[in-house]
């Protein structure tokens, strides 16, 4: 062992900093989710190994290393309660990589570490699959490949960029094979390996429960909720209601989704429309919930969703990764033809004894108005008449929240207004329910699609009128009409910052922001979303939908690519790379040719210069300078250096502008 260690020592000392840098590149993005102590241990291990190598000392002994491994693994286990799963597993890998670095001895260990680095790079995709991260990881792979090349070949150690260039060339050559595998290699439905549940914590989105305060937090997030591509023109802004879960169960404080105890919808969910539906495709960001969003009111939605139930689209399972689906909605519609007695009771249910002042107001309205329709209109006008105030920072509500909001604080946002209005309607005996979702969305001029953000989250009310079915009413629109006409930022009072204020409205930064969003959307649409179903469609179009044919196509595609690559690499008669010295010399020769002394193709620079000097003895010096500099740049030792080429170009320029030959030549050519 000692023999190999001493033999490898000088190499090791030289390659270690590069190895540490390459692995650092791989580990760096992981540091965002690793426990700080793991990162610290990895950095410490690398530092210690570098120091040992510099001092020419050996790595720590076997017992010390064993102790480090046991301690580290125990630390991971204590921190995560497991060694498996996404976070614990990656943390374990990172830790082991650091320890492996510590015991690094020879070239074999470096190779092991680099290959390990490739794997660790791939795990980054489990945390972040954005375009930026993909580009970063590509750079990391490039660096690792260069490292691997450098390890095999030490002849150009003084010119490390050569390894980088070779690595880039090799990655470039592997690109066609990668594309073939990406398109044709069979995709397994679902994630490649089961993702543990902890991976989905912290996804933002609507909640299936509405209690004052919940949507306020949402309103401040600028994250994208969904992107929509319309087949035709998108609906006008005030009609962009994105329907999410319907909340019909009320306990006096919170609105919840209708559970299994809800009476069957029956006639109440029959949808009638006279107008043609709007078709569009939604790309939904993951929100870890079981519903899909669609323009109010969806009639049809593509794969992965079940028929609308309780008035909204349901997914087959929690949406845990970005999905795309086609949907079709009608903007003008009638929903429901009749409510059963049971349903009437369900949708007018209020907890006994809750909201005494609200009930009082409702019964006063009932007395003042003749019909349900008039009562609804009266109620909506109430919000405009009275001094209600739209704000994202409402005061705290204590006690009976609806009474306190309606009669005391009178400031809040959509959630407060929708909740209070539904309670008012129910108190007046009109069936009512709360619908949550998003309201608004802006077209991205850079990509011809609409972006709906979390800050567009909204809540509104549906009331039942016997002659009209479920009717959408938006009390917020009566308090702050700007909210449904221009969006959240327009509705907020001066001095209250909306989301994304830093981005700036209409500025360069915002345009860049939208451009970037468009690029990312394409990245998702064409790369990340290419899953089993899209692949199946494509394969069917290519008539490759049987296994033998697919296998044949895969093998043939890769074989052809490799053959083409091999052929082009082995082609002996490769042309010389364009030579700047030859170009400058060619210019000089053309110059003399125009003066009547063309160079024979087989005439060397020295012979030609001698001939030219005999013809124009006064310019002999200038001609000789050009020829000599060309000889140096083209045939001299050390290949074509930039300085030599520059000197040659300079000589040619000087010859062209100063020599009497060329002046004479120019005047004579002018006469011609």
């Amino acid at each position: 062992m000692t023999a190999t260690a001493t033999a490898a020592a000088p190499n090791l000392r030289r390659s270690l900093p590069w190895l540490a840098a390459g692995l650092g590149l791989v580990i760096a993005p992981h540091a965002f989710h690793l426990p700080p102590w793991v990162t610290a241990v990895v950095v410490a291990c690398a530092g210690a190994r570098l120091l040992l190598a510099r001092q020419g000392r050996r790595p720590p002994g076997r017992w010390l290393r064993a102790l480090a491994v046991v301690t580290g693994v125990s630390g991971i286990y204590l921190g995560y309660d497991t060694l498996l799963g996404l976070h614990a597993g990656v943390a374990l890998l990172c830790l082991l990589m650091g320890l492996k670095l510590l015991e690094l001895r020879g070239s074999r260990d470096i190779v092991v570490l680099v290959v390990f680095g490739y794997f660790l790079t791939a795990t980054q995709f489990l945390f972040n699959d954005s375009l930026l991260m993909a580009a970063y990881m590509l750079a990391a792979v490039w660096a690792l490949t260069a490292l691997l090349i450098a390890l095999q070949d030490r002849t150009a150690a003084d010119r490390p960029w050569r390894y980088g260039r070779l690595a880039a060339a090799m990655l470039g050559q592997s690109l066609p094979v990668m594309l073939i595998l990406f398109v044709l290699f069979p995709r397994i439905p679902g994630p490649l390996w089961g993702m543990p549940d902890d991976a989905y914590a912290g996804m933002t989105g609507l909640s299936d429960e509405m209690t004052p305060g919940a949507i306020s937090q949402l309103g401040r997030s600028d994250e994208v909720a969904l992107r929509v591509e319309f087949d035709d023109a998108p609906p006008a802004y005030p009609r962009r209601y994105w329907r999410g879960p319907v909340l019909a169960r009320y306990d006096g404080r919170s609105w919840r989704r209708a559970g299994d105890s809800a009476p069957a919808a029956g006639d109440a969910s029959r949808l009638v429309s006279t107008r043609a539906p709007t078709d569009y495709t939604v790309t939904l960001e993951p929100h870890n919930q079981r519903w899909l969003l669609a323009l109010d009111m969806p009639v049809e939605a593509g794969r992965g969703s079940r028929a609308p139930r309780g008035g909204y689209l349901q997914a087959s399972g929690p949406v845990r990764e970005r999905i795309r689906y086609d949907a079709s909605s009608v903007i003008a519609y009638r929903l429901g033809t009749g409510l059963t007695r049971k349903q009437q009771a369900y949708y007018t249910d209020l907890p006994d004894g809750a909201h005494p002042r609200t009930r009082q107001l409702a019964s006063r309205w009932r007395a003042q108005t003749g019909s349900d329709r008039a009562l609804v209109e009266h109620g909506l006008r109430h919000f405009r008449r009275e001094p209600f105030h739209y704000t994202l920072q409402p005061p705290r509500l204590d006690g009976d929240t609806t009474d306190a909001f309606l009669f005391d604080t009178r400031s809040g946002f959509c959630e407060h207004y929708a909740g209070a209005f539904a309670v008012l309607m129910r108190a007046a005996g009109i069936p009512a329910r709360v619908v949550t979702g998003y309201m608004g969305g802006r077209m991205n001029p850079a990509g011809d699609y609409m972006i709906v953000r979390q800050s567009d989250a909204h809540a509104w009310v549906e009331v039942w009128l016997d002659d009209r079915g479920w009717l959408r009413v938006d009390p917020t629109a009566y308090v702050a009409p700007e909210r449904v006409e221009r969006g959240l930022a327009g509705a907020l009072p001066d001095g209250e910052a909306g989301p994304g204020a830093a981005v700036g409205a209409g500025g360069l930064l915002q345009r860049l922001h939208l451009q970037w969003d468009a690029v990312n959307a394409y990245w998702h649409r064409w790369v990340l979303a290419y899953g089993p179903s899209l692949q199946q469609q494509l394969l069917q179009q290519l008539r490759l939908d049987s296994w033998p044919r697919l296998a044949l196509a895969l093998a043939a595609g890769i074989a052809l690519t490799l053959a083409a690559l091999t052929f082009s690499l082995l082609r002996r008669d490769r042309p010389l790379p364009p030579d700047p010295a030859a170009a400058a010399w060619g210019e000089f020769c053309r110059l003399l040719a125009r003066r009547g002394l063309p160079r024979a193709p087989d005439e060397g620079p020295r012979d030609y210069a001698r001939r030219a000097a005999r013809r124009w003895p006064r310019d002999a010096d200038a001609i000789d300078t050009v020829a000599t500099r060309y000889e140096i740049a083209r045939y001299g030792r050390g290949g074509v250096g930039a300085a030599e080429v520059r000197a040659l170009r300079q000589a040619v320029r000087a010859f062209r502008s100063n020599s009497p030959v060329s002046r004479k030549g120019r005047s004579s050519s002018g006469k011609r």
Partner: protein, 311 residues
């Protein structure tokens, strides 16, 4: 050393002096002399094809004398045996043992006069020694002296009772040159002057065997850029696709061409090869290796050169 000097320094004092010295004896033949010297520097062997009496022996003598080398001459005749060239093992009666008596080939400069008069057997003894730079007799291998330089002469034309060297054997010679008649001025000077051999014997050596070894090593260090290599390759490719030739130049011939061009560049005092250097040695290196289909209409080396553009 400036970059400028790396290509075009005007002659080293050493090679200039040697050339001047040689031109004092060989009159009016600077180019042949230069080629012969380049051949010696490139560690090649030289084949001279010319009539008797134009100074072949004098040229060989001059080259040997310039560097103070041993010189022997072997006259090839039809009854020459291989042992007459490389030597033989003889029995010494007094000492009662066999002893190897080295032949005339154990010399630094060998003039093999009229090689085409000897039988192929004797010829091949010489040619093998040239190639291997060693001689094996009775199972013992003996190295030839260093430097080892063979100048063979051959009478041109079809003559009765000769064995012209076969094409494959010609490849052993780096260059083939002819001497030709001197120009009138040089010939008058020759007639007026003293006997050339005498002149050579009187003159002190201009250089030493060690200096020659140094120059031979320096030839290997002369730079050939990628652009120049491409030119040499284009020339080789041209010989292979020219229809009038039986076959083109072999890769070994290509190496020989490049090496000879290096020696030529060194004689010019340069540290890098130019296309002109390749052109200067091309005929001497290539002509005897190329076999035309039709003797009269075979393309000349010059026509091959002019058909290839310098890349």
């Amino acid at each position: 050393m400036s970059a400028h000097a790396s290509v075009s320094r005007a002659g080293t004092p050493e090679t200039d002096r040697i050339l001047r010295e040689a031109e004092r004896v060989i009159l009016g033949k600077p180019r042949t002399l230069r080629l012969a010297l380049a051949c010696l520097l490139a560690r090649g062997h030289l084949l001279i094809e010319d009539r008797p009496g134009v100074g072949k022996t004098t040229l060989a003598l001059v080259l040997a004398r310039l560097f103070g080398l041993d010189f022997r001459r072997i006259q090839f005749t039809s009854d020459l045996l291989p042992a007459d060239v490389i030597g033989a093992t003889i029995y010494e009666r007094q000492a009662e043992r066999f002893r190897f008596q080295p032949g005339p080939i154990f010399t630094q400069v060998v003039l093999a006069d009229e090689v085409n008069r000897a039988t192929p057997k004797a010829q091949s003894a010489l040619l093998e020694a040239m190639e291997e730079r060693q001689v094996t007799t009775d199972g013992t291998t003996r190295a030839l002296p260093e430097p080892f330089f063979v100048i063979a002469t051959q009478n041109p034309g079809d003559q009765l009772g000769t064995f012209p060297l076969p094409e494959s054997q010609l490849d052993r010679f780096l260059m083939r040159v002819d001497i030709g008649d001197p120009d009138p001025a040089a010939e008058r000077e020759l007639l007026r002057g003293r006997d050339r051999r005498e002149l050579i014997r009187e003159a002190p050596p201009a250089s030493t065997p060690d200096a020659l070894a140094g120059l031979q090593r320096a030839v290997g260090r002369v730079h050939a850029s990628d652009a120049l290599i491409a030119y040499v390759q284009a020339l080789l490719a041209q010989t292979r696709r020219t229809p009038g030739l039986v076959h083109g130049l072999s890769p070994r011939a290509g190496q020989a061409l490049l090496h000879a061009a290096r020696a030529w560049a060194l004689l010019d005092g340069r540290e890098a090869v130019l296309p002109e250097d390749v052109q200067a040695v091309f005929t001497a290196v290539a002509a005897h290796r190329l076999q035309g289909r039709d003797h009269d209409r075979a393309p000349t080396a010059e026509s091959l050169l002019s058909a290839v553009a310098i890349p």
